[in-house]
């Protein structure tokens, strides 16, 4: 029995007319202790997907289950690192983390809560910034606070939504190693969302591409059969790494091409067309038939 399972999940935003389907037919399982990476285009619906797992959104169809229980609401058993950090700006680093600790371990003594929070601040090397507010931190530091907050909750599963995307390459590499180390120490189940295929392969046991939206769906899952600990420098020469990267990239590119390309073309036609019967006669309460030339633009599907 898989630990986390999404079964034919779909999700869209908006109502009726303006409704657009973001995710379609998502099937996805994660075993306990597994590290799974999902890569996809910007705007494909990665945050939407992780919000479904977190319980911040409910699927329109299909089911999401954790430990065989349907996910209906968010909870501290799923630690989430939000794409935009989501730190509370009026609290210091310490207070942000303490708020989480306070909530998850209400039975701890105040002293123990403080120690627990400090332990995780130290883990992400932010002890000197303990009393700073988020506005005084760099993007990478905020990212680390967010990671520390999620870990301090000691969740069963860690959901990381592009946790490193805002960082420069150097910091990014350092924090990747950090995540790798944390994972090998705690063996938590991790779902990592990323837009960087290399990052996904470097960190995860499995990497799954998400096709381009709208109506994005998950591709096949590629097992990363590169033994750990993985060495960043050697990885680049590793044939399995190169092959994986090529396969995932090709799948992503193909998924983007397969999509019907639509373009909007302007219609400049003289008003000599016969009445178009496929156009509703009484749009917006008027009785005069609509002529094609009155339509300023139309969407045409190209193949």
């Amino acid at each position: 029995m898989p630990y986390l399972e999404l079964k034919s999940v779909s999700k869209g935003y908006g109502v009726n007319g303006s409704r657009s389907e973001v995710l379609r037919d998502i099937n996805f399982t994660v075993e306990k202790g597994e590290f799974v990476a999902i890569v996809g285009y910007s705007g494909a619906g990665k945050t939407t997907l992780i919000s479904l797992i977190a319980g911040l959104l409910r699927p329109d169809t299909g089911t999401a289950t954790l430990n065989d229980l349907e996910i209906t609401a968010p909870g501290p058993d799923r630690g989430i690192v939000f794409q935009n950090y989501s730190l509370l700006p009026w609290l210091t680093v310490f207070e942000n983390i303490l708020l989480a600790v306070d909530q998850v371990f209400p039975n701890y003594s105040p002293e123990k809560k403080r120690q627990h929070a400090e332990q995780f601040i130290a883990m992400v090397n932010l002890t000197p910034a303990r009393e700073k507010r988020p506005s005084e931190l760099s993007g990478g530091m905020k990212q680390r606070v967010s990671v520390a907050r999620a870990l301090a909750m000691d969740p069963q599963i860690l959901l990381l939504d592009e946790p490193l995307s805002a960082l420069d390459a150097l910091t990014r590499a350092t924090l990747q190693d950090e995540i790798s180390r944390i994972w090998s120490e705690s063996r938590k189940t991790v779902v990592l969302i990323t837009n960087d295929v290399d990052e996904g392969i470097y960190l995860a046991d499995r990497i799954i591409p998400l096709s381009a939206g709208p109506g994005a769906t998950l591709g096949p899952s590629f097992t990363v059969d590169i033994p750990r600990p993985r060495d960043r420098k050697e990885l680049n020469h590793e044939p399995r790494f190169k092959r994986l990267r090529r396969e995932v990239m090709e799948w992503l590119i193909a998924s983007n091409k397969k999509k019907a390309v639509t373009l909007t073309k302007n219609l400049v036609l003289p008003d000599i067309m016969p009445e178009d019967l496929s156009v509703p006669r009484q749009l917006g309460g008027r009785t005069k038939p609509i002529r094609r030339s009155e339509i300023k633009a139309e969407v045409v599907e190209m193949n």
């Binding site: 977190a54 911040l56 609401a73 968010p74 909870g75 501290p76 799923r78 630690g79 989430i80 939000f82 935009n84 989501s86 509370l88 009026w90 708020l99 989480a100 909530q103 998850v104 909750m153």
Partner: protein, 261 residues
């Protein structure tokens, strides 16, 4: 350095001089009843130079009058915040509450203090000697609470979804969500409301005192109008303006502290 002084000292002084000149000219030409600046000063000297003296119930130093007015405003304003802030929170949090009460708020909001005051007096008719104070408080509170109500409601609606998501993931209780997330996130908006409310409260006090005849700047103004001492009307107007300006500045200071936080 020189232009700096020009900006904040010379130019405002020129502005004041021009207005005083226009005043002087007016009192000599088309408004013969209007006391000249000189006459106004001569008649007001006592009140300004001995600002805390008490010669009689309605004959006191101008700052003493101001003090009475400020106390009354403070009471009414406190009442407005006490009622207005929670109402604003309910409006911001609940669509049903908004739909129920928004129309009535929009209708009551533009009603002038002069219209509320008689109702206030009627409401507290049974209170005997206290009636005029309670009526004035009621009027100040009900007129000045709307900016607080509306700004708080806007602030609550503008709380970023991210912060609410944090509250949801941490499963914060309703009370904790309110105190740890909603109130801190709304504070800047609330203080904008508080500042605007204070401005209105100060406007209302004058009307309230004029009608109830309570000692204070407004009451003094009305009494001196009836006593045909027009110089003192001008003294009162200037005092009211300066005090209102200072109050607004003080509130802006408080407000900006919460903006940056």
């Amino acid at each position: 350095m020189k232009s700096f002084k020009l900006d904040w000292l010379i130019l405002p002084l020129i502005g004041i001089a021009l207005v005083v000149l226009a005043w002087q000219v007016s009192s000599k030409t088309w408004a013969k009843e209007l006391p000249t600046p000189k006459k106004t000063w001569d008649a007001s000297k006592d009140y300004v130079m001995k600002p805390f003296e008490k010669r009689g119930e309605m004959d006191q130093g101008i700052l003493r009058f101001t003090w009475y007015s400020l106390i009354l405003v403070a009471k009414g304003y406190a009442l407005a915040l006490l009622v207005g802030t929670p109402v604003g929170f309910f409006l911001g949090l609940s669509k049903a509450f908004t739909k129920t009460f928004d129309p009535i708020i929009q209708v009551l909001r533009p009603v002038s203090p002069l219209a509320w005051l008689p109702l206030g007096l009627v409401l507290f008719l049974g209170a005997g000697k206290q009636a005029s104070e309670l009526g004035a408080l009621f009027t100040i509170a009900i007129c000045s609470m709307w900016p607080t109500v509306l700004n708080t409601a806007v602030g609550v609606r503008a709380v970023p979804q991210d912060y609410l998501n944090v509250a949801k993931v941490l499963k914060l209780s309703r009370w904790k969500t309110l105190t740890k997330v909603l109130i801190p996130a709304t504070l800047p908006y609330m203080f904008t409301g508080f500042r605007l409310s204070l401005g209105i409260a100060w406007l209302v006090i004058v009307a309230a005192e004029m009608l109830t005849g309570r000692p204070g700047v407004g009451g003094f103004l009305w009494q001196e109008y009836n006593a045909l001492v027009y110089e003192h009307i001008i003294l009162c107007i200037i005092t009211i303006g300066v005090v209102g300006f200072v109050l607004d500045r003080l509130m802006s200071l408080v407000e900006s502290r919460f903006k940056t936080a």
